[in-house]
């Protein structure tokens, strides 16, 4: 069976999921009696299926050899997310669906205009600087938006709160993939062993140190440990894959640990985060900064093994006060555990893991270093983003506000992740294209 036919079949589970999901929410809302079930849920399913088929047809023409599983996996995640958001609020779901349409257009545009994605290498410094500027924008007055003490958004009045981290992560990965393609050999060859630890040559150590400094700066500037962890993790992943030197990763982790420790003991808002993290159920902090994580844990306990079903979780008190804050964005994973239980949440994580696996597979198949490093970087940053937010929600690490890719509500997240998907598919198509004899 050809790759594209497999992709088409792969879309069937996604469309079934979206139809069943909407049906479940309708039933929970008692729409059965109003006879709204049959046509409405099917309509949503049909529209979504239509979008997916359209994208599939586009891929069939544009990237016939690309990996057949990446897109259906994204479709499953996206439609699951849409059901979750619809369950929270109809209006949000409608906006989310609109962002999907825009996202798919951007996806198509990326594939059309970046057919030869390797020309991105020519603009790597521009891309790197652009990404850093993007990251710092939320700190500027007037346009910056502070959410929960972190500077993560730029307010675009009437449209959205633009989240630059989502796009910056792509830029940084492109830059690193390109930079490391050039320097990986020198880093390995020029390395010296000092005190049993292999150190990269000083000349090239500088830029790496600069990146470490940047990550630390991010912690201070945007006050977000999660994003900083995500960027630095992607950097170390790429460094490791490019050089196959675990000692470099070790040094990197050590430096990050030292920096993190310093900030975690000297910067007040980081200290607050750490305190909440070590004792999430503290009574004194409950009604303040501890409210989010405490209720995240309560929601997960409420869900148990099988969950309460779509619409079964309690998001608001009878008086209309929020019980689970940011349920559609940061804490959506807690809501997932609450409604579909541990079983459903593990299914979501496995879906992400499968996506990442396909990304790494693409990296293995790629025929040039830049393509390999790009696919590794994109897959790693995607996986780390999932780890940062799910780890935050489950209190593995301090909770920070990044989105759960393709599931959380939010335009920037969807747009950026569709570009990520497009880049992976571009790499994949090139890698799997039969070599002309």
């Amino acid at each position: 069976m050809s790759a594209r036919n497999r992709e088409l079949l792969g879309l069937i589970p996604a469309s079934l999921l979206v139809t069943a999901g909407f049906a479940a929410v309708f039933i929970e809302r008692g729409a059965l009696s109003q006879n709204a079930l049959s046509d409405l849920s099917l309509t949503y399913g049909a529209i979504f299926l239509g979008l997916c088929v359209a994208a599939h047809v586009f891929l069939r023409i544009a990237l016939p050899y690309a990996d057949p599983y990446l897109f259906p996996l994204v479709a499953v995640l996206a439609c699951f997310g849409l059901v979750m958001i619809y369950r929270i609020d109809d209006t949000l779901a409608r906006q989310q669906a609109q962002w999907f349409v825009v996202g798919l257009l951007l996806f198509a545009a990326t594939i059309v205009f970046l057919r030869d994605y390797r020309k991105l290498e020519q603009y790597r410094y521009l891309i790197a600087i652009g990404s850093l500027v993007l990251l710092c924008l939320p700190r500027l007055p007037l346009i910056g938006a502070q959410v929960n003490g972190a500077y993560l958004g730029i307010r675009i009045p009437g449209v959205m709160v633009f989240q630059p981290t989502e796009f910056a992560k792509l830029g940084i990965v492109i830059f690193l993939a390109s930079y490391l393609r050039d320097t990986r050999q020198v880093l390995v060859v020029g390395a010296r062993r000092i005190l049993g630890i292999t150190l990269p040559p000083l000349k090239h150590f500088g830029p790496l140190l600069a990146i470490w400094g940047m990550a630390m700066l991010l912690l201070v500037v945007i006050r977000d440990l999660g994003s900083s962890l995500m960027f630095f993790g992607a950097f170390l992943s790429l460094l490791y894959v490019a050089t196959n030197r675990f000692s470099f990763v070790f040094i990197g982790l050590l430096l990050f640990g030292v920096g993190g420790w310093y900030l975690g003991t000297h910067v007040s808002h980081v200290i607050d985060r750490i305190n909440v993290w070590t004792d999430p159920l503290d009574v004194a902090r409950y009604s303040g900064e501890g409210y989010q994580i405490a209720n995240s844990l309560f929601a997960q306990a409420d869900g148990g093994l099988l969950g309460r079903g779509f619409g079964g979780a309690m998001l608001e008190s009878p008086g209309g006060d929020t019980i689970l804050p940011a349920a559609q964005t940061d804490l959506i994973y807690a809501l997932i555990v609450n409604e579909v239980g541990l079983v459903g949440a593990v299914a979501v994580l496995v879906t992400y893991l499968l996506f990442v696996q396909r990304g790494f597979k693409t990296a293995l198949l790629a025929r040039d270093s830049f393509s390999t490093l790009l696919a590794v970087g994109l897959s790693a940053v995607f996986a780390l983003q999932v780890f940062v937010i799910v780890g935050g929600v489950t209190n593995v690490i301090p909770l920070t506000g990044v989105t759960l890719p393709f599931i959380s509500y939010g335009g920037s997240s969807i747009l950026a992740n569709f570009v990520l998907l497009a880049l992976l598919l571009l790499v994949s198509d090139k890698a799997r294209r039969p070599v002309a004899r």
């Binding site: 159920l281 009574v283 844990l297 306990a301 009878p318 209309g320 790494f360 390999t372 999932v386």
Partner: protein, 482 residues
């Protein structure tokens, strides 16, 4: 680069495994602890969405029910409504689930009312599409007698409690002043009631009122005297006013002298000196023993919140002290004075035990539990709690208490065609202002008792048990025996 790529992927698999482990930790392994955490308001809010069971009187009339209302945000929740208002305020209590405030039967029967069933049952119900709903509690309370007792106490502070001696079923439980449990919807008004120390409307005087029992306690002394075998109804006692008890002369009412009255006569005429003599001769050990047999010094086994009941006994500075304590003047205690403080429920239990041939049944407010489909899921069976006195002692006491009503201090309780046995009591609270606490305990019919009752009024100027409390007891008895 393929080896590090595979290793990196494995590292990511490990990271995801950590996520699965932590999710399991909160949703499975530590879920019970988290669900029990009081910071989490979900269980409280969830309870608001369950139709709590009703509370009904013995005749089926509704005392408490849940009605569906919409909140500001348009959500449907259940609110508690008490159709009978103030009439059953004390026994039924109130329930404000949002604030976690529960009292009375709403509290002691919360498990049944809220429909807390096993996890398995609730899953089965869910599969059958059943909404969780609480069970109905059918009480033993009689609305008509409750109304009569409430009216009789209107404007006064006091309590009436009536028990069926053979089963322990509480038929009437009135504490005055009462309160309307519907007030629970108005937190400010509820707070105000709580702060009203003058009238203490939230205090259930039946189970929490600590009062000197006065001469009604002579029944307990007589029971100890007869049952210990040291005295008979015909034993002659000291009837001279001014008998020195614990170094202080004790006077009879109106300073009256009696010439060697029998124990029976002493009860009929409520002769203080004779009972002080009994108390002194029986001694602290025996008196304490019999009091404990009747339930003094213990919380009553009533299906009512422990927090809303107190123990009866000798109290110094509010704390219980044993009868054997040197602080106790056993002679004066034997006539219901000294530092003895009892609840009306305790005196009703004493009366019921005598009426039931010496067997004290557990008092209870619940008759049965009925599920939302109307099936009786639990019936509260009558249960003996203790056997304080022998059947013979009970029968002798019955005759003596019959005389009190026929020819003694309790003639005001006489009912046409029905023999009543009883005992008056008048505890002096302020001799100069002549403020008394009148009491009356009784049961009827004398030969086949169906109701035992205790009535007290906190303060009455120049009122006596026979003139103030006995008429109330008579009216309630008449209604319950009708």
């Amino acid at each position: 680069m393929s080896v590090p790529i595979v290793r990196l992927f494995l590292a990511i698999v490990v990271l995801f495994a950590i996520l699965v482990a932590w999710t399991s930790r909160w949703s499975i392994f530590e879920a019970d602890d988290l669900r029990a955490n009081t910071l989490d308001k979900r269980p409280l809010f969830a309870a608001l969405q369950v139709k709590r069971g009703a509370i009904r009187a013995a005749d089926g009339s509704v005392l408490a029910r849940s009605v569906r209302v919409r909140t500001r945000s348009g959500r449907a929740i259940y609110e508690r409504d008490y159709p009978t208002g103030e009439l059953f305020g004390h026994p039924v209590g109130y329930a404000n689930l949002l604030q976690g405030q529960l009292s009375g039967l709403e509290r002691s029967r919360n498990k049944e009312l809220s429909g807390t069933t096993s996890e398995l049952n609730s899953i089965l119900d869910q599969l059958q599409g059943k909404r969780r709903a609480g069970n109905t509690v059918v009480t033993t309370l009689d609305p008509e007698a409750q109304q009569i007792a409430t009216d009789a106490l209107a404007g006064q502070k006091g309590a009436v409690v009536a028990i069926e001696p053979s089963t322990g079923a509480v038929k009437t439980m009135v504490s005055s002043p009462g309160y309307d449990p519907n007030i629970v919807r108005d937190q400010a008004a509820l707070r105000e009631l709580n702060l009203d120390d003058e009238n203490a409307p939230l205090l259930d005087r039946v189970t929490q009122g600590a009062y000197p029992p006065g001469s009604t306690f002579k029944v307990v002394t007589a029971a100890a005297a007869l049952d210990s075998g040291e005295f008979t109804p015909d034993s002659t006692l000291d009837g001279r006013s001014g008998r020195v008890v614990s170094g202080v002369p004790l006077r009879n009412d109106f300073d009256e002298n009696f010439d060697s009255p029998s124990l029976s006569t002493a009860l009929t005429l409520s002769i203080n000196t004779a009972f002080a003599q009994l108390g002194e001769e029986l001694g602290k050990e025996t008196m304490g023993d019999y009091m404990e047999r009747f339930g003094f010094y213990r919380l009553p086994p009533l299906d009512y919140p422990d927090e809303q009941m107190i123990r009866s006994g000798e109290r110094v500075d509010g704390r219980l002290v044993p009868v054997t304590s040197p602080a106790v003047d056993v002679g004066r205690m034997a006539i219901g004075q000294d530092k003895l403080l009892v609840t009306p429920l305790q005196m009703a239990m004493v009366t019921a035990a005598i009426a039931n041939g010496g067997s004290l049944m557990e008092p209870r407010l619940t008759d049965k539990i009925v599920d939302p489909d109307g099936r009786t899921v639990d019936e509260v069976e009558p249960k003996e709690w203790s056997r304080p006195i022998s059947e013979q002692t009970a029968s002798e006491l019955t005759q003596m208490m019959g005389n009190v009503v026929d020819e003694g201090t309790g003639t005001a309780v006489q009912l046409p065609g029905i023999d009543v046995a009883g005992k008056t009591g008048t505890a002096e609270k302020n001799i100069e202002q002549r403020i008394n606490q009148p009491w009356f305990i009784a049961f009827a019919p004398k030969d086949d008792p169906r109701i035992a009752i205790a009535v007290t009024v906190e303060s009455s100027v120049a009122g006596f048990g026979g003139t103030v409390a006995a008429p109330i007891a008579r009216d309630v008895l008449a209604s319950l025996l009708d």
